[in-house]
C-alpha cells in the first residue's frame, strides 16, 4: 500500500515535470528569430502557400493556442512532420530510439559493473597500490570528455590495432535480423544468428566504452568512499565479533548498504550519458536518436528538436523512478514515501 502511494506520487510528479518541460522547450523553440513556416517551406514558395501552412499548423495564433494544439497532438503521439527526414517525427523516433537505448543500456551495464567492482577493490585495499591505481583511473575518467575517449578509441582499436569496427551498428555484409525489440544483439539472439550477435556486440564496444568510462570512474570513487566509511560502523565490528566470515560480511552486509549512494548517482549518470551520446553517436555514425537529434538541431527542425528532448526527458524520469525503487529496496530504512534527500 505504501509502495503504491509512493509510486503514484512519483508518477504524478513526473507527469508534472514532463508538462513543465514541454512548456519550456516549446517556449525555447518559439522565441527563435525567424518564421517557422517560411523556414519549413523554403524561400521560393509563394506567400499564399506559406500563409495556408501557417493556418493549417495554427502558427498565426497566439503562442498558448499553438501550445494547446501541440499538446493535443503530442498526447496522441503526433509530434508533427520533420523537415529533415520529411516524415512523421514519431516514426523517426520509433526507428532511431532502440539504437540509442541499446547503446545506453550497454553503457549502463558496463559502468555499473566495473564501477562498483573497481570501487570495491579500492576499498578492500584502501591506501595500497590497487587503491592508487583505481584513483588514477578515476581521475582520468572524470576529466576526459566522452568525445575524446571516442576519438582515442577510434585511433587505438579502430586504426592501429584494427580490432573493432568503427562505424554503425552492424557490418554491411550482414543481414539485419528481423526486428523484434529493435536491439540488434537481442534480435539476432532471437533469430538464432550468432554471427550477427557478435558483430553487433563488437560494434557496441567502442561507443559504449567511450560513454561508460567517465561515469564508471565516478561510481568507483563513490563506492570506495562509502565502503570505507561503512567499514568503521558498529555493525561490522559486531558481525566480525560473531565470526561471520570476512568475505560474507563484505559481500552481503557491507556491499548492500554501501552501494546505495552509488545507485543514486548511477541513475543520474545513466541519464546524463544521453547527452554525451549526442557526440559519441555522431563520431561512430551510430544510427540512434542522439545522432538524429544532432542532425535535426543543425537544420533547426523545430518539431523534431522538441520531440527528441521530450523523449529524453521521459527516459530521464523513468530512470529516476527505477532508481528510487531500487534504493528503497536496498535500504529498508528509507521509507517509501519519504522524500529522497536532495
Amino acid at each position: 500500500m505504501r509502495f503504491l502511494k509512493f509510486f503514484a506520487r512519483r508518477l504524478l510528479h513526473s507527469i508534472f515535470v514532463l508538462l513543465g518541460l514541454s512548456v519550456l522547450v516549446f517556449l525555447i523553440a518559439r522565441v527563435m528569430p525567424g518564421d517557422p513556416a517560411r523556414m519549413a517551406l523554403g524561400p521560393r514558395v509563394p506567400e499564399e502557400i506559406v500563409e495556408k501552412y501557417r493556418e493549417d499548423l495554427h502558427l498565426n495564433k497566439p503562442i498558448y493556442v499553438q501550445y494547446y494544439y501541440w499538446l493535443i497532438g503530442a498526447i496522441r503521439g503526433d509530434f508533427g512532420m520533420s523537415l529533415f527526414t520529411k516524415r512523421n517525427v514519431a516514426d523517426d523516433i520509433r526507428e532511431f530510439f532502440p539504437a540509442t537505448l541499446e547503446l545506453i543500456l550497454f553503457t549502463g551495464i558496463v559502468m555499473s559493473t566495473f564501477g562498483i567492482m573497481l570501487g570495491v577493490i579500492a576499498a578492500r585495499y584502501a591506501n595500497k597500490w590497487p587503491d592508487n591505481v583505481v584513483r588514477v583511473i578515476s581521475y582520468m575518467g572524470v576529466c576526459t570528455p566522452a568525445f575524446v575517449f571516442a576519438i582515442l578509441f577510434l585511433l587505438l582499436f579502430g586504426y592501429i590495432l584494427n580490432l573493432l569496427p568503427t562505424i554503425g551498428r552492424l557490418s554491411p555484409w550482414l543481414d539485419r535480423p528481423p526486428v523484434v525489440t529493435g536491439f540488434i544483439t537481442i534480435d539476432s539472439l532471437i533469430a538464432g544468428n550468432l554471427v550477427a550477435f557478435f558483430d553487433g556486440l563488437k560494434h557496441l564496444i567502442m561507443p559504449g566504452l567511450a560513454l561508460a568510462l567517465g561515469p564508471m570512474a565516478q561510481e568507483a570513487r563513490i563506492t570506495r568512499s562509502s565502503m570505507t566509511e561503512n567499514l568503521q560502523r558498529d555493525f561490522i565490528a559486531l558481525e566480525r565479533s560473531q565470526a561471520i566470515p570476512e568475505r560474507r560480511i563484505m559481500t552481503k552486509y557491507l556491499m548492500r548498504i554501501s552501494i546505495i549512494p552509488t545507485v543514486s548517482v548511477l541513475g543520474l549518470d545513466f541519464a546524463s550519458q544521453l547527452g554525451w551520446a549526442f557526440l559519441v553517436e555522431l563520431i561512430f555514425n551510430w544510427p540512434g536518436l542522439s545522432r538524429y537529434g544532432i542532425n535535426v538541431m543543425m537544420r533547426k527542425d523545430l518539431n523534431a528538436i522538441v520531440a527528441v528532448i521530450m523523449v529524453i526527458g521521459l527516459l530521464f524520469l523513468i530512470v529516476n523512478i527505477i532508481v528510487d525503487i531500487v534504493v528503497a529496496g536496498l535500504d529498508p530504512r528509507i521509507r517509501l514515501g519519504a522524500e529522497r534527500s536532495k
Partner: protein, 294 residues
C-alpha cells in the same frame, strides 16, 4: 566595538592560515592549483607565450601544413600550417572565459533562489522555485544547451548563455538542501526572535554556512562547464572558426584521424589537462573546507 572587530579579524586570519596549512599539506591540491595557475597565465598572456601568436586567426602557410611534432612546432601543425601549440594557448582563453562567465552568472542566481526557497520551505515560494528546477534538471544539461544553441545563431556568447541557463538549478538544489536544514538551527531562530529581517537572515546567517559546498562546487563545476563548452564547439555550436577553441580543434582534427593524429590529440589532451586541474583543485578545497559531498 573597535576591539571586537580586531579580535574578529585576527580570528578570521587564524582560520585562513589553518585552512591554507591544510591545503598546502595535500600534494594533489598543490598540483591542481599549479596547473590552473599555469593555464590561466598562458590564457592571459597567450599573445606573448605562444610561439606563433599570428597563427591564432585565419593564418595560412601551406609550406608547413600537416607537420608532425618537431622542434619548431612541438605539437605539430594543422592542415593550414598553423602551429597547434599556439592555438591551444589561445584556446585556453575561450575555455577559461566560458567557465568564469557561466559560473559568475549561474551561481549567484541559483544560490539566491536556493536560499530563498530553503528559508521559506513549505510555502508556495519554495514550491514554485523547486518545481521550476525540477523541470530544468529533467534533461541532461548538454542536451538542452545543444538545443538552445542550435535554435539561436551559433556563437561564443550564445553558447555561454545556453550553458548558464542550464546551470543555475544545480546550485539552487544544493543550497536549498543546506538552507532548509539549517533554518531550524538555534542561531537562525535567535536572529528571528531579535527581529532580524528576512534579508539579513538569508544572506548573513544562512549564506555563510553554505560557503564550503559552494566554493567546492564552483571549482569542480569549472571543469564541467569547460567540458560542456568544448562539446558545444565540437559539434560546431560554440566558438566559430577561425577562433581557436579546443573542442573545435578536436573536431577538425578528427577528420584527419589516423594519419595526422597530432591535430586532434594535443587539443584533446589540453582539455583533459584543464579539467583534471580543476577537479583535483576542487577535491583539495573540499578537504580543506571539510565539505562532506557536493
Amino acid at each position: 566595538m573597535g576591539k571586537t572587530k580586531t579580535a574578529d579579524l585576527s580570528r578570521r586570519w587564524e582560520k585562513v592560515k589553518k585552512s591554507w596549512y591544510k591545503f598546502s599539506k595535500n600534494p594533489l591540491s598543490i598540483i591542481g592549483a599549479t596547473i590552473i595557475l599555469i593555464i590561466v597565465c598562458l590564457a592571459i598572456f597567450a599573445p606573448f607565450a605562444a610561439p606563433y601568436p599570428e597563427h591564432a586567426g585565419s593564418f595560412v602557410n601551406f609550406d608547413e601544413a600537416s607537420m608532425p611534432p618537431n622542434l619548431k612546432h612541438p605539437f605539430g601543425t594543422d592542415v593550414f600550417g598553423r602551429d597547434i601549440m599556439s592555438r591551444i594557448f589561445f584556446g585556453f582563453r575561450f575555455s577559461i572565459t566560458m567557465g568564469v562567465v557561466v559560473i559568475t552568472l549561474a551561481a549567484p542566481v541559483g544560490i539566491t533562489l536556493g536560499l530563498i526557497a530553503g528559508y521559506m520551505k513549505g510555502t508556495w515560494v519554495d514550491t514554485v522555485i523547486m518545481r521550476l528546477t525540477d523541470i530544468f534538471v529533467a534533461v541532461p544539461p548538454l542536451v538542452l544547451a545543444l538545443a538552445v544553441c542550435s535554435i539561436l545563431t551559433p556563437s561564443v556568447f550564445n553558447a555561454m548563455m545556453a550553458v548558464t541557463l542550464m546551470w543555475w538549478p544545480w546550485y539552487c538544489r544544493m543550497v536549498y538542501g543546506i538552507a532548509s536544514s539549517i533554518k531550524n538551527e538555534f542561531f537562525v531562530q535567535a536572529a528571528e526572535v531579535t527581529g532580524a529581517g528576512k534579508l539579513h537572515i538569508i544572506f548573513r546567517e544562512i549564506l555563510p554556512n553554505c560557503y564550503g559546498p559552494i566554493f567546492t562546487k564552483i571549482s569542480l563545476d569549472m571543469g564541467w562547464v569547460i567540458l560542456i563548452g568544448s562539446a558545444l564547439s565540437f559539434v560546431g555550436l560554440g566558438a566559430q572558426p577561425p577562433t581557436p577553441d579546443l573542442g573545435t580543434m578536436v573536431a577538425d582534427g578528427g577528420k584527419y584521424m589516423p594519419d595526422q593524429w597530432w591535430i586532434a590529440i594535443f587539443p584533446a589532451i589540453a582539455i583533459m589537462f584543464i579539467v583534471f586541474g580543476f577537479n583535483i583543485l576542487g577535491d583539495g578545497i573540499r578537504d580543506m573546507l571539510e565539505v562532506e559531498e557536493v
